[in-house]
Symmetry: none
Subunit: 283 residues, 2 copies
DNA sequence: CCATCTCTGAAACAAAACTTCAGAACTTTG
DNA sequence: CAAAGTTCTGAAGTTTTGTTTCAGAGATGG
């Protein structure tokens, strides 16, 4: 229950002095945040004792609690998370920089939200378990998706996993073909139709690897070729080659994978991260 | 901007005692609302003096202000946006995969929102103009920030700009030193204290390049070294080395830059994108 | 190994919040 | 209408909470 509604509700049983306090607070609740109890009492034309009694009448322990409650409540009211939210409009050449920024930010926030709430957590569990138990992890991605693959590679490697980013076609080909037992191969492609990536996954699967598709399209060639599929959701704008939104959605999935694998051996991981951190950020 | 992002951004210049305070607050910010400064100090294993110093390091007058800021901020956060929004709690080992995913997704959405609404659009305009008019664009980034630099490189290059990603230290050094006229140099570093990156930017600036910092901390060494500064806002979780949230925030800025530059010559850009697209996605 | 500088917490200090209590104001009742 | 009782109020005193100072511990650099 909000404090301000409580004030309203309790106002019947207030004494005159308390009612004056209630009135001032109703008009400018922010006064409570700025002023001390003495100043507020003066503003209300009453004494501090009455202000304290007012707080207690509301069921609060005192002025400090009134402050906290009002502060959080005012915070809620001014909440503007997604103040940039402009959706349903294409990014146009006529847009100002600020409009474009807001639009792309909105699309990206939406993509993260949709991707994460739409995730198949059972599949995610299986993939995390597979990555955790893998002897070798192969990551395939081309073009914009390569950055995503690279990102996962960096994260997995940093916590001590045998992850390989196969950027070179020859390397990719041979790595896929020679998958040792307990190899997990992950293919990255937003469209799911990047021919090379699909091919690598097919080969790795034939070679006995467990294959995973990370794509924006659950019935794409890549998704069909792989054992498991994790789907990112993104509405790309026309300036799509930037692959801005889709990349963010894919990175969100990468983060879920990373957190999953990392948490399997939490202490160990945090330790590894902190030790590597000392190296990269000496102090 | 948000206190919690500010804590994150300033954490580089904290002393050990202050860092302990920062950590406790990052894990459970609501403690500040419930506990007195004495109790909090005890929880952090430090003295009240250090807590006060911590507040002042954030630019606040003291504990009272920290309380207010955090209270309003927590209030804001509980005002719902996405279906996943879970904030104010550290990602813990006990979390289920789904909880972890929701938390990181929330943090990432929040980071995009805070970053884009906190952007200095005048600076952004200037940077876009500079990038657009540049003869040569140098991009410096190390470690996790290198991926961000890479991303911008990929985007700029694809729309026909002379952008260079200097990954190798020798290359970076020489490229910075030999900046031809109308060179723009961009340094990427979330902390803003990555020594090499700062150095490259300093050199490039001395060589006559226009220098730009893309960092999470507006009063970091990198920001001071550069002519312009674009600030990303991110609250990283404890599994920070993943650099999950900060990376997303930086990418959001990269997208703004890209959209800005791209829209300067809209038709040309869309054309370039579509032609390169035909090559990468034949149909 | 010493000088210097930074960081830290105990203790003194200041400010704010809370409690008490005596008297004012209002109610009730004979 | 006045006396007794009740409730309400704010000044002053008390306690709690927050801030500043300062001397010593510890790190840093020569």
């Amino acid at each position: 229950m909000g404090i301000q509604s409580t004030i309203e509700a309790s106002s019947a049983k207030f004494t005159p002095a308390m009612r004056r306090v209630a009135m001032v607070i109703r008009d400018t609740p922010s006064l409570v945040l700025d002023k001390t109890i003495y100043e507020l009492a003066a503003t209300c034309g009453t004494s501090v004792a009455s202000v304290v009694r007012f707080c207690q009448a509301l069921g609060l322990s005192g002025y400090a609690q009134l402050r906290m409650s009002l502060a959080t409540e005012l915070g809620k009211e001014t909440a503007q998370f997604g103040s940039n939210l402009i959706l349903g409009a294409e990014i146009a050449r006529s847009d100002t920089l600020q409009e474009m920024a807001s639009k792309v930010a909105s699309l990206e926030m939406l993509a993260i939200d949709e991707t994460v709430s739409g995730l198949d957590y059972e599949a995610l569990e299986r993939v995390v378990a597979a990555l955790d138990g893998a002897q070798r992890i192969l990551l395939f991605g081309i073009g914009a998706s390569q950055f995503v693959a690279q990102d996962l590679h960096h994260k997995l490697f940093r916590i001590g996993r045998n992850a390989f980013l196969l950027a070179d076609p020859h390397e990719a080909w041979t790595a896929a073909l020679l998958s040792p037992p307990r190899t997990v191969a992950v293919g990255f492609s937003h469209s799911g139709e990047t021919a090379d990536t699909v091919r690598y996954i097919e080969i790795a699967r034939q070679a006995g690897a467990l294959t995973i598709a990370l794509t924006g399209s659950p019935d794409s060639a890549l998704a069909r070729a792989a054992d498991e599929c994790l789907v990112s959701r993104a509405r790309e704008s026309r300036l799509r080659a930037g692959a801005m939104v889709s990349r963010i959605a894919q990175l969100a999935i990468v983060d879920c994978l990373f957190l999953g694998v990392a948490s399997q051996r939490y202490e160990q991981t945090v330790d590894a991260l902190e030790r590597t951190r000392d190296v990269t950020h000496p102090r």
